[in-house]
């Protein structure tokens, strides 16, 4: 039996960054993955002459080489060189303002451009928008300070008071306190769906750290699907001496006393001298993969308190088109089609198949003409389902019909709202549903965002819990991923993998290993 310092189970975004963090810290690492490709959500698939990205719209916090954001810094730290493409606009949204008038707005990235464009759409918004950005910057700096090594509590109250004073509130409350004009708030509400929690329940700190990063650092995506990111991370891990086993599924974690020391897989049992980091939902780890008597009571209670309130389940249709974006009249990388500006109403409508009329359209070729072969383009539509029981008893024959019906709805929405008609250009089509993600990722209910980051289970509460050491779990076993301190999204998962890997190493050191 081979021994490793650390074993990382699952090569999703969090698993890959955790493995790299351990490897750059000169630890002997084994990364195992049940599939034959790394990445989890961050992958790519081929149909005909097209390669598709199943999940990534835009990656947060990359920034340019000269002005790197946190995500690019993680990649730089690991020596992973991705061919990034910048999405120069934040988004276009076609919807309705809360007063019922039509909204068709395109917001650029860059703080100044964003503020100016808002002033153009909503005259008189500028001062409040500047306050909004100042607040977001204070929060950014404050959160960075909180995760630095030497924290002086007095300093927090001195320098980062705006963060503290907004930190307990939901996004709606804070936008109101900023005295933003109604229409500006409507436009700013578009981002809620990236986090899957409506504005009334979304922690402002969570919202602000994402929005600030998107606007400040612009959004990026890799030239050749997220598979490019994941393969490059995996290859870098090999270079750093890490080992990878594909087609290797963890069945059970083995314990010596109360300490996890090994993982049993279809390819054998592997021992970790220090710890195992598992990129698996905690309910599956603690419900099925460790001896019941060793499951901490706190973990059971946390599960019970969450009441299975899982976050967004994606439903996505991918199209390979036999015309170019230009020929089809597609000019925007990403267009949001909400029903209106009330995120609470929207959130509720996404519980049922029959009332879900939301979608986000995306066309990679707009910024990356080489994304698909000459004369073609690739686009996708995504909606999500908030906790929904509609998928619990769907018959298979109805499932296929549902996929087609949803795809038709997407195509029609685009046509009605923009005049762009892709229906005659479809050469390849694939549709992924909550079942698809459940099967491929093992994510409960196919909820790729993990548990909803709302109220007491928001990321700030999770972070404080960890900082205070209240979250003590099981010796030698650390869950990583979207249920962690950073919540959902690629950038959050990369950060979580890194944070928890550092924590695991620090814990080991304390134990004298």
């Amino acid at each position: 039996m081979k021994k490793y310092d650390y074993i990382v189970v699952g090569s999703g975004c969090a698993g890959l960054s955790a493995a790299l963090e351990l490897a750059v810290s000169k630890k002997k690492v084994l990364l195992i993955e049940q599939h034959n490709i790394p990445g989890g959500c961050a992958t790519g698939f081929v149909r005909g002459r097209f390669e598709f990205d199943p999940s990534l719209h835009e990656l947060c916090g990359v920034g340019s080489a000269e002005n790197p954001g946190g995500t690019r810094e993680i990649f730089n730290r690991y020596g992973v060189d991705v061919d990034w493409i910048e999405a120069t606009d934040c988004f276009r949204v076609i919807s309705k303002y809360s007063d019922g008038t039509a909204m068709d707005v395109t917001m650029p990235s860059g703080k100044d451009a964003f503020v100016d464009k808002m002033e153009y759409y909503v005259p008189g918004s500028k001062d409040a928008m500047l306050r909004f950005f100042d607040l977001m910057q204070n929060i950014d700096d404050g959160l960075a300070y909180l995760s630095s090594d030497n924290i002086n509590p007095a300093n927090i109250f001195k320098e980062y008071m705006p963060m503290v004073r907004s930190g307990g509130y939901n996004t709606t409350d804070v936008l109101n306190a900023l005295c933003l004009p109604e229409k500006a708030k409507d436009i700013l509400s578009v981002y809620w769906s990236y986090l899957g929690v409506d504005m009334d329940n979304l922690s402002f700190l969570h919202y602000a750290s994402m929005v600030n990063s998107y606007v400040k650092f612009s959004a990026y995506f890799p030239k050749h699907t997220s598979h490019e990111i994941s393969v490059k991370m995996a290859e870098r891990l090999r270079e750093l001496g890490g080992e990878i086993m594909m087609g290797c599924r963890a069945e059970e974690f083995l314990f010596s006393g109360d300490r996890c020391y090994a993982v049993r897989t279809n390819l054998g049992t592997f021992v970790a001298e220090n710890a195992i980091l598992a990129n698996i939902n905690p309910d599956i780890i603690f419900g099925r993969m460790i001896p019941p008597e060793l499951v901490p009571a706190r973990e059971k209670k946390l599960c019970d308190a969450r009441k299975r309130k899982l976050g967004a389940r994606m439903f996505t249709a991918y199209f390979g088109l036999n015309k170019t974006a230009e020929e089809l009249g597609i000019k925007d990388y990403s267009i949001f089609f909400p029903q209106g500006s009330d995120s609470v109403a929207e959130y509720n409508s996404l519980k049922r198949i029959s009332t879900n009329n939301y979608s986000i359209f995306l066309c990679y070729n707009v910024h990356n003409p080489d994304f698909s072969p000459e004369g073609t383009s690739v686009c996708s539509f995504t909606t999500m389902f908030t906790s929904s029981t509609d998928f619990d008893n769907l018959r298979q024959e109805d499932y296929y019909k549902l996929k087609t019906a949803m795809a038709k709805k997407f195509i029609n929405t685009l046509k009605e709202k923009t005049g762009i008609d892709i229906s005659d250009a479809i050469e390849e089509i694939t549709i992924a549903s909550p079942y698809t993600f459940a099967r491929y990722l093992n994510a409960p209910e196919g909820a790729v965002y993990g548990y909803e980051t709302r109220e007491w289970d928001g990321i700030i509460a999770r972070t404080i819990e960890m900082t205070m050491g209240l979250d003590y779990k099981v010796k030698g076993l650390y869950p990583i991923g979207t249920n962690g301190v950073r919540g959902d999204g690629y950038s959050s998962a990369y950060a979580d993998g890194q944070i928890i890997a550092q924590k695991a190493m620090a814990d080991s050191e304390k134990e004298g290993k």
Binding site: I37, G44, F45, D134, L135, N138, E159, P162, V164, R165, S166, G168, Y169, V174, A177, S203, H224, T225, H227, E228, V231, M245, M246, G247, N266, L267, G268, I284, F286, G287, K300, K301, L302, C303, D304, A305, R313, N322, F391, D392, E397, Y400, I411, S423, I426, E427, I429, Y435, T436, R439, P444, E445, G446, W456, G458, A461, I464, E465, M468, L470
Partner: protein, 402 residues
């Protein structure tokens, strides 16, 4: 200037902030320490429809004498439903033959409705100098236990992409996915007009002649035209399926062409279809498999032909040293050594066999290129469609169907 911001009073705001953690603690404290239920409804259904593999029992064997083929009726061993599928999909059959561990893809020829009774049928036609097909035809008995994959492949009707009228071009055992499509149309699961141009050598050779006739009679959306290459007979078309014949049966306006048959048929039909000037998106072809004559491909590096190479195969902690012939895909060498390796389509497309080429070189025919962009850049191969050009070391993923 330092920024100032507050929602309510300073005290209220600070209290609100600290309540984040006290609320979390309270929510957890109040909850019950029940055992965690790790099963989720959507995941259970997903596993049912996409199993690692399905354990089947051969419940019936039907011989098609003139066609040198047999239909094997598989029934789910535990009596449960078989994974539902789209008509046109295939299953991968796992076989242990004299120390080899191989898979073979076979289109499902039964109606998806039968999956609900746990039934999946495949039809195996004999292959001269074949390995798996003759073995199955000779050795499969009623009651044998067989492992098959879940449904795989994308060769099925897609309303949003395909034309309402589909001209199917079938050769020999290539009729199987179309038989399933015909049943699915009859059973109300699919809705399109299917005209099958079916090439056989002689009348006697026609596979499923009665079944096709019957289903065409039952449902007016289905039409079957038999085309005999080696025989002139009344009531049949004669010769090969060419552009003229397709035009004769094609409707006015748009139509899709779906092709499934032997390599020779594809090569002939593709040239004929070109003459029709149909948009590429309306031409769909079932997987090709890989060529038996790799050395005859234009861009093949001829100097490798006929050589035998040493290959080190790494799976997890295990290493195997095997020999591989230049004229066979690497996967074939792995299977001959009895090493369990994942595979499904065996045509380079599905990516199931994706492996890391640690050292050495391999040749992938253009027509089997189904790799992702970054995989090509970083030396990953699909061993089912990669021919060795040198000694090599490869890392192969573990397999769940073995």
């Amino acid at each position: 200037m330092a920024m100032k911001f507050g929602v309510k009073s300073t005290a209220a705001d600070i209290k609100k902030f600290t309540s984040l953690i006290t609320n979390r603690e309270a929510a957890i404290r109040k909850a019950k320490a029940n055992d965690i239920n790790p099963s989720f409804r959507i995941n259970e259904l997903a596993r049912k429809y996409h199993p690692d593999y399905q354990k089947m029992i051969i419940s019936e064997i039907i011989s098609h004498e003139g066609a040198d083929a047999k239909t094997f009726v598989f029934k789910k061993a535990d009596g449960s439903e078989a994974a539902f599928f789209r008509a046109g999909q295939y299953v991968s059959v796992l076989l242990k033959i004299d120390g080899s561990l191989v898979t073979r893809p076979y289109s499902i020829c039964s109606s998806p409705l039968e999956a609900k009774q746990g039934i999946v049928k495949i039809t195996v036609r004999n292959v001269k100098d074949g390995f798996a097909a003759p073995y199955m035809l000779e050795n499969f008995k009623i009651g044998d236990e067989i492992k098959i994959s879940g449904p795989e492949g994308t060769f099925y009707y897609e309303e949003l992409r395909d034309a309402e009228n589909v001209i199917a071009i079938a050769g020999g055992s290539g009729i199987t996915p179309f038989l399933s499509m015909a049943y699915a149309i009859r059973d109300g699961l699919e809705d399109f007009n299917l005209t099958i141009l079916f090439g056989s050598r002689t009348e006697e050779n026609i596979l499923f002649r009665n079944e096709l006739e019957a289903v065409a009679k039952e449902c007016d959306k289905i039409k079957v035209v038999n085309v005999l290459s080696d025989e002139k007979k009344k009531g049949y078309e004669n010769g090969f399926i060419n552009a003229k014949l397709i035009k004769k049966y094609a409707p006015e306006g748009k139509y899709s062409i779906f092709m499934c048959g032997p390599e020779a048929m594809y090569r002939f039909a593709e040239k004929e279809i070109e003459k029709l000037g149909i948009e590429k998106k309306f031409i769909r072809r079932e997987l090709l498999g890989v060529t038996k004559k790799v050395a005859s491909l234009e861009d093949y590096p001829k100097e490798a032909a006929g050589k035998v190479f040493d290959v080190k195969v790494i799976i997890g902690e295990n290493e195997y040293n095997i020999k591989a012939n230049a004229d066979e895909p690497v996967l074939a060498a792995i299977e001959k050594a009895g090493i369990p390796a994942p595979s499904r389509c065996r045509s380079g497309e599905c990516g199931w066999c994706r492996s890391k080429l640690v050292s050495g070189n391999a040749y992938t025919p253009k027509e089997n290129e189904g790799r992702r962009f970054t995989d090509i850049e970083f030396g990953y191969i699909h061993p089912c469609a990669a021919f060795p050009l040198s000694d090599m070391v490869i890392e192969v993923p573990g397999s769940y169907m073995k």
